[in-house]
């Protein structure tokens, strides 16, 4: 795989799968307004995935048609995806979904900052464009957490949910295949691993917990290995397509 493409896929696939996960809460989130808000945030993330898949198509000098974008989103083999295991994780637990939303979007902010001055001008423009939406995503997660962490009933539930996600952080922030070349070409300014201390600080501020990510990163499986949850998610996403792969939409 072309290393720059591989680097872009690591971001695009994360955006695609977290978007899918969030939108699946439509109709089953704890209350109506949150149904709308959470699935709407999911749609934003799917939109970001489209923009990033378009960057890949740009690298290939291929026209970004709907079919070409769908092919990248749905038709690659499992071994070609570069998603993190955090976004592949299946959950029906709202606390876990909410904490993943906070964790993912906190890291996402720093990831966009790493490409805001990218030599790939399309990518740099996207980084500026998405921040307006990401600011709202973080405000949404923070508003819920500010309110719920203050509750003696909700606080232990949320902290347990956060603990259940910490094992995924090392994989999320482990060096991404292709990033060495991406850094050399100015596509990204630094390794994704540089986010670790920034996240540790955010976690300390938010949960009054000390998290030590850096040591775990070197022992983490990379993004070239799919977690057990991936295939179930992909099968669900492809369910309608697979009824009749030749159908014209």
């Amino acid at each position: 795989m072309n290393p720059i493409e591989e680097f872009i896929f690591s971001f695009a696939d994360d955006e695609h799968l977290i978007g899918q996960q969030h939108t699946e809460w439509i109709g089953v989130a704890p209350f109506l307004e949150e149904d709308l808000a959470f699935s709407s945030i999911g749609q934003d993330e799917l939109g970001h995935a489209v923009l990033l898949y378009e960057v890949v198509l740009g690298l290939r000098e291929t026209e970004a048609t709907d079919e070409a974008i769908d092919a990248l989103a749905y038709d690659r083999g499992a071994s070609e995806y570069r998603s993190s295991h955090l976004v592949e994780l299946a959950t029906t637990d709202w606390a876990q979904a909410l904490l993943r939303h906070w964790l993912y979007d906190t890291v996402e902010q720093f990831r966009w900052e790493l490409v805001v001055g990218s030599s790939n001008t399309a990518l740099a423009e996207i980084a500026i464009r998405v921040e307006r939406e990401e600011r709202f995503h973080r405000r949404h997660a923070d508003a819920l957490l500010d309110s719920l962490l203050a509750s003696p009933v909700a606080r232990p539930v949320l902290l347990a949910a956060f603990d259940s996600l910490t094992p995924f952080i090392a994989n999320l922030l482990a060096p991404v295949a292709g990033e060495t070349e991406a850094i050399a070409q100015g596509v990204v300014s630094a390794s994704i691993t540089t986010i670790a201390p920034l996240l540790e600080q955010r976690v300390a501020d938010r949960f009054e917990q000390t998290l030590s990510i850096t040591a775990d990163i070197s022992n983490s499986p990379g993004r070239d290995v799919r977690s057990d949850h991936f295939q179930t998610l992909m099968d669900r996403m492809r369910e309608v397509i697979d009824y009749d792969p030749q159908a014209v939409w």
Partner: protein, 99 residues
């Protein structure tokens, strides 16, 4: 939880209009939820939230008597009829002068 009434306005156009209501635990959550519940399709770019308990509601009995006062409805019909009648009388006077 409190009920918030949501008002939206398009910039440079119209006045604030009532869009609906929602339940929220506090003001910040009300903002976040109102944005997605009522403005996600760009229905407005300005947003007011009013906690329903802060709305002063008049007694219906107090407001109702004003529904029965047609003389306060200035639809212009009476004035128009009067102007027409005066104009017609003037025409008749003109005609008799010219004869």
């Amino acid at each position: 939880m409190a009920i918030y009434e949501v008002f939206l306005k398009k910039d440079g156009r119209d006045e604030f209009r009532h869009a609906g209501a929602l339940d929220a635990a506090n003001d910040e959550l009300a903002f976040v939820m109102a944005r997605e519940s009522y403005a996600r399709r760009a229905e407005g770019d300005r947003l007011w939230l009013v906690e329903r308990s802060n709305v002063l509601v008049a007694d219906a009995e107090f407001v109702a008597p004003n529904a029965d006062k047609p003389h306060r409805h200035h639809d212009g019909a009476a004035v128009a009829a009067r102007r027409k009648s005066i104009r017609e009388q003037a025409d008749i006077a003109d005609d008799s002068e010219s004869q």
